[in-house]
Symmetry: C2
Subunit: 763 residues, 2 copies
């Protein structure tokens, strides 16, 4: 029987999704369902003086107007995770202040329109660098429990990092960290070239098709049930239990099918629907409109990277000096500064480095994870400067990168040794691609850029279960929210182990009441971790199948094989039993065999970093500044392409979102902190006509602990895309964009500036 691994197959959930049959969280049908509508703050920073509910309550159909005081929240502290509705201070325009609940969506909307919120305006903090300065107004009045936020001003040591130099900073700096290794100044002194630059990236919206949605209700026994567009059923369960002070078994979360998520769907709407259901005792749905989702969700944040890097004429990288400022918006719980500070080193060896990072609150929206959070800006900064170094030192950009690329065991700026990583292999692959080979014979205004990046990959213990049904088909049970086709992949993994076809494997996502534990679908870890648990569960089932067959056929298990769903003697295929026959023997009343089942768990010793190299061939219109992508290729190390169709889908999707980062996407706020690009009319995403065919070059450097060598593939393909496009723009024009997105006006301005300086573009 041919292997099913490495064979392209469509996603099993596609027919239902494309035919409209999929029941998303917003489609749950429940009698007595109430509908929620949010009252969002119209101020970016203000104290709430009063909230007038009466007019809303007078709207026919309105059942309740809930404010922070009404929700049965027991968690203390501020921050969005503890404060689903603003208590006394609003910290971004769009922050939920009240939830109107009504018998119909229309009534709830009507009610929300007449809730009158009286504010006392406070100065909004919007300028990222300005927010850091001592004496700057604070974006949030710190509560007692937020004292740690204030400490940062004087703290000399960050969490787990080295001693920080003393700095005078405002209380908006919620976290600083510092990583240092080697003698940086000495490294720069021995360099033959040192380049530097300041890079800025923008707030970016995840642009999932399905806005955030949750439906919550109470079941007998007082169990809060939540069906939500969440990436992690167990995480939502745990956080809801903490928020409302409920035992874990009084909260049951169903991760409904996702209409896209990309990192952004976790615990924004669940607490609101759940809180209302707890208060009202009736089912409540909250479905954000697109406009609300733009204003009130958690996009990727802006960042500033100031980098200085050096290299020798030999091509050896020397020193990296980095200052990273990550906007946290109004999120106080965490920031991307830590991850950006490890990713800014890229997949390279450095003689010396010093990396400072800052997480800074502003009165923008809360931020969240978005596909490779913190990685595209870091790669944009570093890979732009590497191209400049290569140009100054007259090195081939790919050979230069290859020379410095890490291999297994090299210690990164994180201080940890890299596991197996395929950065070199990806670079070698794009080196042979026509886009690269033809780069020097292009028309004027065209150019090719290359960049490489990686995503470290998540690693979280996971488990899975399986059982062989009476019909000889395997049922695999996990808790995974299928964001990227993971269930399709699980079926292939289990089928391969069992010696049957993926059509004979059914994958079930159970809810938190009964599912084996699995973590959030994020960090490119589901296939790597849960996929391995599925493999192990199937291995256990296989062992038990072989045991039954061995007993029945009187042949040692080691002399048996499973081919096309039939267990047979090696060399005597006529001595056989089908999986169906075996299942029925193991399910027989009074039978001598246990039901065939398997349970698999994993705790892998390391994550599996995935690298990807991008090639972009662009044409820049000097009249308009518009960048057109003519050709594009991405070479990605996927460990093992379990299902090349899905892997290529991720590569193309990642590259497409990279094009959005590079050229179009930007959440813009006015001077009052109001979002001015709050719809798809104002917020540009790469549409089909603007995205070229993307060549996908699958590189397979097996991950030692992954299922069949596979590693996570979702995030790596976005990382280096903006850098490659920026390098292509530089190659085409000689200008060096240092701000994303590289919109036509910005590029045009750079071209104008360059022509004013009458510089000669480098070759």
């Amino acid at each position: 029987m041919d292997s099913v691994i490495g064979v392209p197959r469509p996603r099993t959930d596609s027919p239902e999704k494309v035919s409209g049959a999929t029941r998303y969280a917003g489609d749950d049908v429940l009698p007595g369902l109430l509908h929620g509508w949010l009252v969002l703050s119209t101020e970016a920073h203000a104290t709430i003086v009063s909230i007038e509910k009466e007019a809303a309550l007078a709207v026919p159909g309105v059942v309740a107007v809930l404010t922070a005081d009404d929700l049965p929240v027991v968690a203390e502290g501020s921050g969005r995770s503890n404060e689903p509705l603003a208590r006394s201070e609003v910290v971004f325009s769009g922050q939920p202040i009240a939830l109107v609940v009504a018998e119909s969506e229309a009534a709830a909307e009507d009610g929300a329109e007449v809730v009158m919120v009286e504010y006392e305006s406070l100065e909004p903090v919007l300028d990222l660098e300005g927010a850091m300065r001592p004496g700057a107004p604070l974006g949030r009045h710190p509560g007692e429990e937020d004292a740690s936020g204030m400490e940062s001003v004087h703290a000399a040591v960050g969490a787990g990092e080295q001693e920080l130099p003393e700095e005078e900073l405002s209380g908006n700096v919620l976290k600083r960290s510092f990583r240092e290794e080697g003698d940086l100044e000495a490294a720069f002194e021995t360099s033959d070239a040192v380049v530097s630059g300041r890079f800025e990236t923008s707030w970016i919206y995840q642009s999932y098709l399905e806005p955030q949605t949750a439906t919550a209700w109470i079941e007998p026994g007082g169990v809060l049930v939540v069906s939500a567009s969440t990436q992690g059923a167990f995480m939502s369960r745990n956080e809801l239990a903490d928020l409302f002070g409920l035992p874990l078994d009084k909260v049951r979360v169903r991760a409904a099918p996702l209409g896209g998520a990309f990192g952004g769907k976790l615990m924004l709407v669940e607490p609101l629907a759940a809180g209302a259901a707890l208060v009202l005792g009736r089912p409540v749905r909250l479905l954000l409109t697109r406009s609300e989702d733009f204003q009130a969700s958690n996009p990727a944040p802006a960042a500033i990277f100031e980098l200085r890097v050096g290299a020798r004429r030999s091509g050896e990288l020397t020193g990296l000096d980095a200052r990273i400022v990550c906007d946290r918006g109004s999120t106080i719980e965490w920031g991307l500064e830590d991850i950006s500070s490890t990713l800014v080193g890229g997949p390279y060896r450095w003689r010396a480095f010093a990396i400072r990072s800052y997480g800074v609150q502003t009165n923008r929206v809360t931020f969240g994870a978005y596909r490779g959070p913190g990685a595209p800006p870091a790669a944009f900064a570093l890979e732009s400067l590497l191209d400049e170094l290569a140009a100054q030192l007259e090195l081939d950009p790919i050979e230069f990168r290859l020379q410095n690329a890490v291999v297994e065991g090299d210690v990164g700026v994180s201080g940890r040794a890299f596991p197996v990583i395929g950065a070199r292999e990806c670079l070698e692959r794009v080196r042979e691609h026509p886009i690269w080979l033809e780069r020097n014979s292009l028309p004027e205004d065209e150019g090719v850029g290359v960049a490489v990046g990686y995503w470290p990959g998540g690693n979280e213990p996971a488990s899975a279960a399986c059982r062989l049904d009476r019909d000889g088909r395997l049922t695999v049970v996990t808790a995974v929210a299928d964001m990227t086709g993971t269930e399709t992949t699980f079926a292939a993994i289990a089928a391969e182990v069992l010696g049957t076809t993926p059509e004979n494997v059914r994958v079930v996502a159970a809810d938190t009441a009964s599912a084996p534990f699995a973590g959030v679908s994020g960090g490119s870890k589901i296939t790597y971790t849960v996929g391995r648990a599925v493999e192990r569960a199937a291995e256990q089932a296989r062992e038990r199948i072989l045991y039954v067959a061995s007993e029945e056929l009187e042949i040692a298990p080691s002399d048996l094989e499973i081919v096309d769903g039939v267990v047979r003697a090696v060399g005597s295929p006529d001595r056989s039993l089908s999986l169906e026959e075996i299942a029925q023997k193991a399910l027989a009343w009074g039978g001598r065999y246990e039901p065939i089942a398997g349970q698999g768990g994993v705790a892998q010793p390391s994550s599996a970093p995935a690298a990807a190299a991008h090639l972009a061939h662009v044409r820049v219109d000097h009249e308009t500044g518009e960048v057109e992508i003519l050709r594009y290729a991405v070479a990605q190390d996927v460990g093992r392409a379990l299902n090349p169709a899905l892997v290529e889908g991720q590569m193309r999707g990642g590259a497409t979102q990279a094009i959005g980062w590079a050229l179009y996407e930007e959440l813009r706020y006015d001077e009052h902190g109001q979002l001015v690009t709050g719809s798809f009319l104002d917020y540009a995403i790469p549409t089909a006509e603007r995205v070229p065919q993307i060549d996908t070059l699958i590189v397979e450097v097996p991950a030692p602990s992954g299922p069949f060598g596979a590693k996570g593939v979702g995030e790596a393909p976005v990382v280096a895309g903006p850098a490659a496009i920026a390098n292509a723009v530089a190659a085409a024009t000689g200008i060096r964009p240092r701000q994303l997105p590289m919109t036509a006006p910005r590029v045009w301005a750079l071209l104008q500036e360059a022509s004013t300086r009458t510089e000669t573009p480098p070759a």
Copy 2:
């Protein structure tokens, strides 16, 4: 820490049940729910000439009138399992002919009242012995696929049994079997006493509180979902898939909480609700009224036992000659004749036996399982005659039974050796009870009877899973329909294994989409089989817990113990980790331990038969024939009383239902086959005022393969009850009742007959 095994605890589902919060299958709330109402046959035997739907369809709210042709049944053959609605021939009064589906129950009922069915009457077969005679009219016109039914007339060999003597029988005899061992006539010839009798028992209704109910709907992907008052989710799933020709994964069954079942709740209403949902594409509920449940469900069937038994003056039992006729009503798929023919030998050794059994169709309702199916009638016949033998041979009834009672290894009339069985221990226990000790000093008209019986116990492979949650509590997942408090017991089993309290174990019944396999809740096997699987799953979790603790505390697992939810070093209890701490270590992002989980399967080498001895002390009113039970005791071998409160509940419940069998219960049909006792006004059950305090004597003879030695306890306590009461009546009056129930008129008639014959009652 004290063991939690053997400690009485209330059922965990009691608070919800007694407070009305439990959501039964009839309480599922679904938008767009349609309601079904059955049109039942008014004839016991007839051909359907026509079914007029128009009037019903004209009733406002009626959506459809479904008949057999409308259901998407692919299964061929007749019989209720293939024919949820009668096709062309009705074979019992009350048989479902049509299902009216409407927007409300009232509309459906109105519609059902005006569905006009035209019948061509056929002669109903109602007399059980008469039905067997050659040339008797047939209760069902045999179809081609039912040829096996006709074969019985001439078949010389039954399935798996010995050669059958040739007999001339009608086609109503659907199955014969014959078991023979030793020289029976020689055995009787060497006997010092031989007694014989013909015993008759009645149709008995299970009298569950909740009538049969199912709700069915279609989910995205075309999955048929059924929430039903079923005793077996997987069995219902499998049979629905077969009936409608659906893949197993397109059928999902939820075993809803049961309001009693006692063996009777399997696949009567599921096919009707499911068929309607498949046809109409909308949710459909069918909830039988009590009257419909009486007429159209599957009660325990009537039987005739003709027995001849002999013994020697030494007390040794010699020969058993039995002819058993089991009414099947209109059920063609199976009968109780097989099980009755093995149980008629009782828990005794026989020198020789010859047992013939017949399964005979009549035009009564279909029959079903009811707590110890086939056992109470067999024990009634045998134990009555044993008392007569003891009297004739002047032997003590208990010593006589003890002398012949089987022990492990004795071969029964089934031809198989008995596993460990506690029949002797139960008899020894009642021998010491005051009821027995005081039996010879009772007022006139009072008497004490003893009897013993057993239930062989079911044995079916089963599995269970568990996981340790972040809060240190264990979640156990099974597919079990909790009929008798098994979830409460599973919690105790898992807690005992883990070293924690049952309150820290949560048991979840998952549906067939994701649950580990478990069989029907029936045959007294859930605690024995699934309970053992739970024990094994918990053992696996325990091992993993000890591994984590061992690594963290740097102490060998063998030097660790778990006490009160804390893993600690034996002898150094301060070196410890709580289960909560361990769970969190095993669920930590990037952690080194797999999530703590366990999966357990079982296929026990034998079943675990359970014996019970009953003592009844009665007073018989000679004026009215009324039997009053003054005192009652039941000694039951339960292997190990995991939860004595629940075990005693089963013992009392079983004894109470035995009192119903003995004195009150009888489904009576008139000469047209119409049920005349179709309500609780006409059908008497033992009410609280008629049931004495029942002494429960727990006997513990451990079952080698059961969890902590436990065996099933549900069915054994009903088996010998009617016999003990009959023996008590005989002791009180000298008359020998040979028909159940021993109603006052019947006993009065026997007393009259005896006084007419002016016989002297025996001592």
